[in-house]
Subunit: 354 residues, 2 copies
């Protein structure tokens, strides 16, 4: 009898301990697929540092496994994989899904649109998050800002572009919405896989190409063979994106939900700042090794033609999609207001301190 | 005997449960003093939202009580209170401590210095955090960025400033290091308590004053009586500061330390973005109610004289303080590199899109 009571006693003790443990220490394991390969800094670092922060803040209760595109082999399949539940989270960019849902386009960056601080202000204080939720709720996923590249450069050109005529027939790699604008200006927009870009440019199968900015362009080597580096117009604030399967998110306890949301938010801001630093370093290195690189801005008539083409395309798309119109109108109204402040603060300060 | 075993058994069960609880659910209560009053948005909101995030992410295990200056009555006493252990944390600004330790000066913002994204890049990727630690370790406190106001405006002037002569004898409220620069240009730098500023300006006991920017200036009403709003030069990136008593921080378990660090970091970035939005709104409101407000920049010879005075003061201070020189040299070297990128990205983009 004594032995039985003792055994019961031990069992009860173990049971009590484990039930307390299970309430507070249950480990939640999530999987994340990135659109980026294993070496794509600073994009992949952002996803990994987010996962690390979540694990540390949760004392190991929230573990996120990060699979790069090298692993899952479907860089542009991550939206469907999160929607379908094969992965819980993705780190990617919203505008990749414009073929599936045109309303996803404006959450990355729009030509001649908001800068990074302006766009973060629009997301968090100007109604952007609510509009993004409206778009993504339909797909059963949640979407959050995932890190800004800052202003993307206009691309590398082998010859200087002086007039609109210089663009006619120019063979250029520039994908997405910006490519549609360039096509309207007579550019022969060409799709070339990343691994063949350098050779295509070297052998004049391409006359120009757009990639990202110094931090990600430097390892591609374009600056060694195309000396004209045009300033940005088409993606002034490219924001990456986290998407999460809504049902999976809702299964997390409230504290882990908040840990995840905060880890994503801080990693996004950090990427903006990290890439700012990487761009400064990469540009210094490029410029010192290849002092003949020239930074150019497109002439006013070229810029005006781009702006006109941009407006025409936006008007066409909006006519068929009331929600897209609502989002673009919201960004336009916000920009009208916030750009006045940007002008009198950052712009006029920089003008006297270059 | 059976009863004794039963009692022991119950005790053991309770003990096991409570020891598991204490490891995972011990509540840590910290106190935070802010330099700001109860209504000083967005500064006080930043401190409060940080505390809220920490509580939510820790599931109530980390509770931070926020006392505004209305409560503790010592806005500029918070550094000593954290150092002495009366409070655990403060939300304040580093340059307030330049009288105690001159090396604390450069961590807020320096005249003609780094912009907000540039300065965050310097803090987190350019060696700034390490230098700040070097300065604050001596005082037994840890220091972290606590939110940027962005570019602060140069102030409200009743008359337009056209020449250097217009500054001679001008009665202006402009505190701190910027005031020392203005004094070198012949400005009669005057200290007036915040509550008397409007009346002093109205009755011409002040000809001009510097406050913050539209978001915080609007409720002061200066725009109703001083129509010239000069653009910023003296605080292009004013960064607030969290300070924490090092011993108190070290007593927290590792997960709560990380929760606290991340909550501070995200709240700092958020303040930058929140204030960006608030400035845009406040400026729109001011400008529509008082359309005669004119935004002005100081003429080149005035700006050059300010830059010269700034350099002279920096050289004097640095000669006596090798660590200050090390910090200023680090910022200068970083700015030389990063401003090249700012110019070709944000500046040239904005130039064509104002």
């Amino acid at each position: 009898m004594k032995k039985t009571i003792k055994k019961l006693c031990i069992l009860l003790t173990l049971f009590t301990a484990s039930s307390v443990l299970s309430a507070n220490e249950k480990v939640y394991k999530l999987s994340m697929a990135t659109t980026w390969g294993e070496t794509a800094s600073p994009l992949i670092d952002t996803a990994k540092s987010m996962a690390k922060l979540a694990e540390e803040m949760s004392d190991g209760r929230l573990i996120i496994r990060v699979d790069s595109a090298n692993k899952h082999k479907a860089p542009l399949g991550v939206f469907d994989m999160v929607k379908g539940g094969q992965y819980d989270i993705a780190h990617t960019a919203s505008y990749y899904w414009k073929g599936k849902d045109i309303n996803t386009l404006p959450f990355t960056s729009m030509p001649f649109g908001l800068t990074s601080p302006e766009q973060y202000a629009w997301f968090y204080y100007g109604g952007g998050m609510e509009l993004m939720k409206k778009v993504y709720d339909k797909h059963g996923v949640l979407s959050f800002p995932g890190g800004s590249t800052g202003v993307q450069m206009g691309g590398w050109f082998k010859k200087e572009i002086k007039t609109l005529d210089d663009l006619k027939g120019l063979k250029m790699r520039i994908p997405g919405f910006a490519g549609e604008i360039m096509a309207k200006l007579g550019v022969q927009v060409t799709n070339v896989p990343a691994g063949e870009l350098f050779t295509s440019l070297e052998t004049n199968n391409l006359d120009a190409l757009e990639w990202v900015g110094p931090s990600m362009d430097i390892s591609m080597g374009f600056h060694k063979i195309a000396p004209y580096y045009y300033t940005g117009w088409h993606e002034p604030a490219s924001e990456m994106q986290y998407i999460i399967n809504t049902k999976k998110f809702e299964k997390l306890p409230a504290d882990l939900q908040q840990i995840l949301v905060v880890a994503m938010r801080v990693s996004a801001y950090d990427m903006y700042i990290h890439n700012y630093d990487m761009n400064a370093n990469a540009w210094q290195e490029m410029k010192s090794e290849y002092p003949n690189i020239q930074v150019k801005t497109f002439a006013k008539d070229i810029m005006d033609a781009m702006k006109k083409a941009n407006q025409e395309l936006r008007t066409e798309m909006s006519a068929e999609n009331p929600l897209l119109k609502e989002i673009l109108d919201s960004q336009d109204a916000y920009m009208k207001k916030v750009r006045e402040w940007t002008k009198m603060s950052d712009y006029l300060y920089l003008k006297d301190n270059l």
